[in-house]
């Protein structure tokens, strides 16, 4: 009885948000529209509770994972025959997925609550919550999926809910363009992902994670294609987690409402790529596979690139967006250096503090009457105290200041890079840490210190309680996230349940980085100090950005995102799709439609018009032609 309850609880947690989305959409006539927020919050809260119960159950019983519950979604052919295909929908309830679930529903719950204040009075209020619920559902689906296909299904659904939410204010052309860009960029990643799934399926004969794990134990099966399959699957993550070269959509996605940016484009959805990489880590780390190496470098490059760009952005949300990109690159880099634990660790803490930062930014924007340029702000420290303090907490956590959560997770990654011998990645990591501190300090200094640079900044109004409480709550894990044994939990999981968990104490945990890998920890702290010092020197009470004058073209390149968008829009897309579609259209119109189709019919008609000139009306022509015809027949038949 209890087992059934627990088994089904996963489904309940998954389906509740879907129910909420459906109820809000279809229940319009029954008042569901007005109650949208309550339905949606209720659903996600119940999901959170269910996840919590599941997590505790798992933790207390000490099982590595709950028994899978799955049912066939599509069956073709008899089982065991050559051409058979079976896709299941099933839930994988293990530590990895449950922690992720807790993050998704927990952070999600707070952001739902926050949104209630942020979106109050918007005409699309109920639509917003329906989409948010749909997103939660899809995200939970990715987290819980026990096979590739189910993950792909929810992967796509996440894409579409993100599309809907970015384009929430669809009447704004910028938002409408941004959501389109986001979805298509994601689709490019999904293309690789699906191919990867096909490849894995054709080699290993299954798409279920559990059976793949068993199949992959035979190296000769998978060996030859391991690298390519790994990279194809990574394409999916590249899209969702906005890794170079598919990173361009994420900053534009900030056109959506700020809570959406917080939930989807900072805390959860973009982390799905990293989560997926960790989920299928056993395939990526297959002996002989080069995939992880490449993944690590792509992650590192993304982290560096995004951090550089963030230095010269002026839009508060864009800075945070590039910061997210950079941190995602960090996580991917961690996976690439054989450290899924570190990646998941950073993912978790990052979810807390980045959500906090975005919500804080949202509060600032709210206070500034939707002004997002940081150079129009200034001196908000006094006027928005709660926002300021919580934002500061988030900033410190993001920079990795010791004893904030970010310190531990970031250190974990750097240590992993060292341990793995990836010194190049380690150097990048340190550099990025310095840059992170630099741009975050720049942001905080310009926004909260100094003097007000616009009239809006002189009279801001603090957000309502419904928006501030989530900030306060999120601040807590941002600070203490490093002490929650998250790393140990994941380590335990990735070691296949063999490692020892929970043997260290709080105090050990507090100083763990310094003990475990002092080199990494010290270089991290050094990077923070350098970055902070530079930022302080440049931006303390600055009225305008001094950097462009000092760096010249390099600053311009950073401000213009190293011209990647321009490159894609002016060169890559025209050279691939635009050009080909023009060619295809021309061929279709002139060659197939014109030359072949109209040409054939025109030629026939011309033949008709020409031939009927024979019918001249002259009797003797007819007689002559008759005789000529007879003569021709006689010649053919008899004269030869």
């Amino acid at each position: 009885m209890e087992d059934h309850f627990i088994e089904n609880l996963g489904w309940v947690a998954l389906l509740l948000p879907l129910l909420s989305a459906v109820a809000i959409t279809l229940g319009g006539p029954f008042g569901a529209r007005r109650a949208a927020a309550k339905i949606s919050i209720g659903a996600v809260a119940l999901s959170f509770v269910a996840s919590l119960i599941l997590f505790l159950y798992l933790h207390l019983t000490g099982q590595p994972a709950l028994a899978e519950t799955s049912f066939p979604w599509l069956i073709i052919g008899k089982y065991g025959e050559l051409n058979n295909l079976q896709f299941n929908l099933g839930l994988q309830l293990d530590t990895l997925s449950l922690v992720m679930m807790l993050v998704v529903t927990g952070v999600g719950l707070l952001i739902h609550i926050y949104s209630q204040g942020y979106l109050a009075g918007d005409p699309g209020y109920s639509r917003y919550f329906a989409c948010l619920s749909l997103f939660t559902f899809s995200m939970l689906g990715i987290v819980l999926a026990d096979n590739f296909l189910m993950m792909f299904i929810f992967w796509e659904l996440v894409g579409i809910s993100s599309y809907l939410l970015i384009g929430f204010w669809y009447h704004k052309p910028a938002a409408a363009d941004a959501c389109k860009k986001a979805f298509i960029t994601n689709r490019i990643g999904d293309f690789g992902f699906l191919l990867g799934i096909l490849l894995v399926w054709s080699v290993l004969g299954s798409v279920g994670f559990a059976s793949l794990k068993l199949e992959a134990a035979h190296p000769n099966h998978f060996g030859p294609v391991a690298t390519i399959a790994g990279l194809l699957i990574f394409c999916g993550a590249m899209g969702k987690s906005a890794q170079f070269p598919l990173h361009v959509w994420l900053p534009d996605a900030m056109e959506g409402p700020t809570p959406v940016s917080a939930l989807i484009h900072a805390a959860t959805m973009v982390a799905a790529g990293v989560y997926m990489l960790c989920r299928v880590y056993f395939l990526l780390s297959f002996p002989g596979s080069q995939a992880l190496e490449i993944i690590g470098w792509i992650g590192g490059f993304t982290a560096l690139l995004a951090a550089l760009i963030a230095v010269q952005q002026n839009d508060i949300k864009r800075i945070l967006a590039y910061s997210t990109l950079s941190q995602l690159g960090y996580m991917v880099m961690a996976v690439g250096s054989h450290g899924p634990t570190a990646a998941m660790y950073h993912l978790t803490t990052h979810a807390f503090f980045k959500a906090l930062l975005f919500l804080g930014a949202g509060a600032v924007i709210h206070a500034m009457h939707h002004e997002q340029d940081i150079w129009q702000m200034g001196g908000l420290r006094k006027k928005l105290p709660v926002t300021f303090w919580t934002f500061l907490t988030g900033t410190l956590a993001l920079c990795g200041v010791p004893f904030f959560s970010g310190f531990y997770s970031k250190d974990s990654i750097l240590a992993q890079a060292l341990k793995n011998g990836s010194y190049g990645l380690f150097i990048i990591g340190v550099l990025v840490a310095a840059l992170t501190t630099f741009y975050m300090a720049r942001l905080a200094l310009v926004v909260f210190w100094g003097s007000a640079r616009s009239s809006a900044a002189e009279h801001p109004h603090e957000a309502p309680g419904v928006m501030l409480w989530p900030l306060r709550i999120l601040a807590v894990p941002s600070v203490i996230g490093g002490l929650l044994f998250i790393e140990a939990t994941f380590e335990h999981f990735f070691a296949g349940g063999h490692g020892e968990a929970g043997t260290i104490t709080w105090a050990e945990q507090l100083l763990e980085p310094l003990n475990a890998s002092p080199a990494a920890a010290l270089s991290g702290i050094f990077a923070i100090m350098v970055g902070g010092a530079f930022a302080g020197a440049l931006y303390w009470k600055a009225a305008s950005d001094p950097l462009p004058l000092r760096l010249g073209w390099f600053a311009r390149a950073m401000r213009n995102r190293f011209y990647f968008d321009e490159l894609y829009e002016r060169v890559l897309i025209p050279a691939t799709h635009e050009l080909w579609s023009r060619i295809a259209q021309a061929i279709d119109r002139w060659i197939i439609g014109g030359l072949a189709v109209r040409g054939a019919s025109g030629a026939t008609e011309f033949a008709g018009r020409a031939l009927r000139l024979v019918q001249s009306g002259s009797l003797q022509t007819y007689a002559f032609l008759l005789v000529a015809g007879v003569a021709a027949v006689i010649y053919c038949l008899l004269a030869r």
Partner: protein
Amino acid sequence: MLTYLIFLPLLTAVILCFVPRNYAFLMRLASLAATGVTMLLALAVFLRFDSAPLGPSSAYKFEQQLNWIRSLGISYHVGVDGVNVGLVLMGAIVAFAATCCAWEIRNREKEFYILLLIMTGGILCAFASLDLFLFYFAHELALVPTFIMIGVWGRGVDKNLATFQITLYLSIGALVALAGLIALYLRAGAQSFDLVTLTQYAAVHPMAVRDQNFIFPLLLVGFGILISLWPFHTWAPLGYGSAPTPTAMLHAGVLKKFGLYGLIRIALPLLPHAAQAWAGTIAWLCLGNIVYCGFVAMRQRDLNWLIGYSSVAHMGFIFLGIASLNIIGVTGAVLVMIAHGFLAALTFGLAGYLQHTTGTSDMDKMGGLLRRLPFLGGALLLALFAGCGLPGFANFAGEVTVFFGAWKQFPLITVLAVWAALVIGAVYMLRAIRSLLHGPVPERCAQTVEDSWPLRKLPYVLLLVPLLVFGVYPRLLTDKIWPGAETVLASVHPSEQPSPMPAVTPKSTPIHRAEAKP
């Protein structure tokens, strides 16, 4: 039961001939009633259909056979198996939805409804028929009203050209296919047009490979034209752009699948060697649909043309599934056929409504309609999502199945097809959403309001529901389809066939007067 299903619309059409033209309302009502009851009957057939085989002699349910032209071995023979039961259901639902959408027809209603009903009957008969001649006959019966409807009730400046082109083009296709069917009849040597007899006869006396290789291209080209296989596709966007809404819905949704169904039902089991020999060619040609037409669709500025090209592009997936010649691919192909039937009908229905409301189909002239028309815009949004293969819609299930089926046979082609499905499809569908539904509301659309009559929404809901239901739980279809697909493919891969067919001499099929009850 199938016979009722087929003849209900046809008989209603005949009766309507004798109703004076003033009673337009009565005609609309009668047509709605006829197609509605047909839909319910089809639903009953679908629900009562049980894919377990009845016995070795026949794989078909609800079978009925009556002599028609004895001297040629032609009979009225209908029946369903897993491959066509879903198609019959889809056809009936689309027919009802199309009849609902016919409210926009305001002149010569009598003729319109008569033609619509004939088309419906013909379509259902074509999909249920188990006789090559009946199959072709019924298809033509459904095709001819299309031409007339486009000609008389069509819209747009290109109407005359479109009517002319679609008539000639499709006639060519139909004739070539007819030649193929006749050649098949002659070469098979069974002296029968009956599919069951032919299949059983072919199991014992396989046709010479040379003959197969001669007949298969005829069928491929003939059916290919009907399905708008690249490069025979140019009629489709032009024709659909000019067709009245119900016609476009029925033709693009259902009738067009005739050729594909013909390939699966006739070409694969009866011409197995040729099917294997030609599979590679088909797979390459289907890229023309999937990739090339996708590219062309990206450049369309007219909604009808865009949908037309996207519909052509979707045909490619079905071809790919068929070309893979395995049970996964063929099942996927049938699934896409059904899904695309609903989808095409839905998109053309909505596009027709939009054009009716805004007076244009130029996407550049519209915008922000999601705000002005919440229901319609929402439905269009969902339809376009379904069109770019979003999970949750039946199209996704079908396309993914096709990819899985084709991957092992044609990896390179599948890669390109996946690219087209995921990226190119998304590009043009989202472009349409961006132009139509998103963005600011232009002057011209500022006054458009949605029709408040809830019944107007019925057809769209009716088409969306199966898309979603089959998308969420595709086993409702696939569990029925794959045993049928297995039978169809039995002769293509004889090694996988469990037991040889019993030897049957021609013309010895018993004539079932009573319906076989499942």
